[in-house]
């Protein structure tokens, strides 16, 4: 029994570390902790309860993330863990870690920036190319290969690239 060897704080921390290692199935360089999707890990009557929040309402990765968390915890010896999805407060790209932003860029996806211009109906965004770093880029489509990404193109190196949308 794991519970015999650890006190509650340690158990909770271990469970957090396990849950935090689960990656986004669509962007496997990011963990759910990098993304800010992992909100809380609690220990109730010896049972772990993980709280996550969806990035987008229709994001199909959420079911898979839930399953992956339960599996990871089971493998680490936590029995009957539960994953809860909460909507409030609503997820924002501001919760993405600095480390997460760096990993995204290295993976070839331009990370999200401050969401200040989101409300401007035709606001101009400046997104640096994740390949060559040039700021000479243009948006091709606000909607990309997944809900969270837009499709951009670099006019300097001619490479198309994904941009993780501000939210």
């Amino acid at each position: 029994m794991v519970t015999a060897m650890f006190d509650d704080t340690e158990l909770r921390q271990r469970a957090w570390d396990v849950a935090a290692s689960v990656v986004d199935p669509e962007i496997p360089v990011l963990t759910i902790a990098d993304l800010g999707v992992l909100r809380d890990v609690a220990l109730n009557d010896g049972r772990i309860e993980v709280t996550i929040t969806p990035t987008y309402s229709g994001c199909p990765a959420m079911n898979m993330i839930t399953l992956e968390i339960e599996l990871a915890l089971e493998r680490a010896g936590f029995r009957n863990s539960r994953v809860r999805t909460v909507l409030s407060p609503a997820w924002t790209t501001d919760w993405m870690s600095k480390d997460g932003r760096r990993k995204l860029r290295e993976y070839g996806i331009a990370p999200p920036q401050a969401a200040a211009s989101r409300r401007a109906l035709f606001g101009v965004e400046q997104v640096a190319c994740p390949q060559c770093g040039s700021a000479n880029t243009e948006v091709l489509s606000e909607f990309g290969s997944t809900s969270c990404k837009a499709l951009w193109r670099c006019k300097a190196c001619r490479e198309p690239f994904d941009h993780f949308k501000c939210h």
Binding site: S57, L87, S88, T92, R118, F122, S145, L151
Partner: protein
Amino acid sequence: MATPSIEVSETPLVLYTLRRADDALILGHRLSEWCGHAPMLEEDMALANMGLDLLGQARELYSYAAQVEGNGNDEDKLAYLRDVRQYRNLLLVEQPNGDFSHTMVRQFFYAVFADLYWRAMMRSKDATLAAIAAKSEKESAYHVRHASEWILRLGDGTEESHGRAQDAIDDLWAFTGEMFAVDDGERALIESAIAVDPAALRPQWLKTVSGIVSEATLALPTSGWMQQGGRSGRHSEHLGHLLSELQSMQRTFPGATW
């Protein structure tokens, strides 16, 4: 159809939530019909993405409606096992896709409304509705921008695209009035600060819509006559056809999963 429809106890809050859920599901389904048929790949993905956002919003709202109702229904039963007269969506969102202009004008009218609506609903005293609204308004902001850019391109484009965009506006305008209508049950929810009063959104909606439309060198009709019925289950013939496709699997193979 093989499976009988469920019964839903439509208390004012259940009905209110179902109306929002049905708008999102039906418009999302309409957008999904474009998948593989849009004028270009980027637009195909955009329409599917927006449809997915709407489907996600619908799921949250159906789940909440089922929870409030407390009769053992769930999101799937509410979507797949209600008949056409039990659907409560706006007539606007069930209108066929038509040409690309019709799809975009319908999207534009609805998105501008939904964006204002979700932002107002974030202040609802009902914590779940407020949370769903906070999630949805981030998505609707993108939908507004996308549709607005298309209205400008179509209206201020070629003679052909201008004519088609104007025809779409003229055809769909009569369905916009229903967005701002409420019945007595909804009025009571508005008074207790749970529901949004859509009439309060109308001036801003009109300002945004007419601003983009005139910038696109198009014009809004001057006729004030508006068609209603969807909110109380009186639909155009189009919804039945849509549902027969949307529901066929669960009606034929009840409880099927994959």
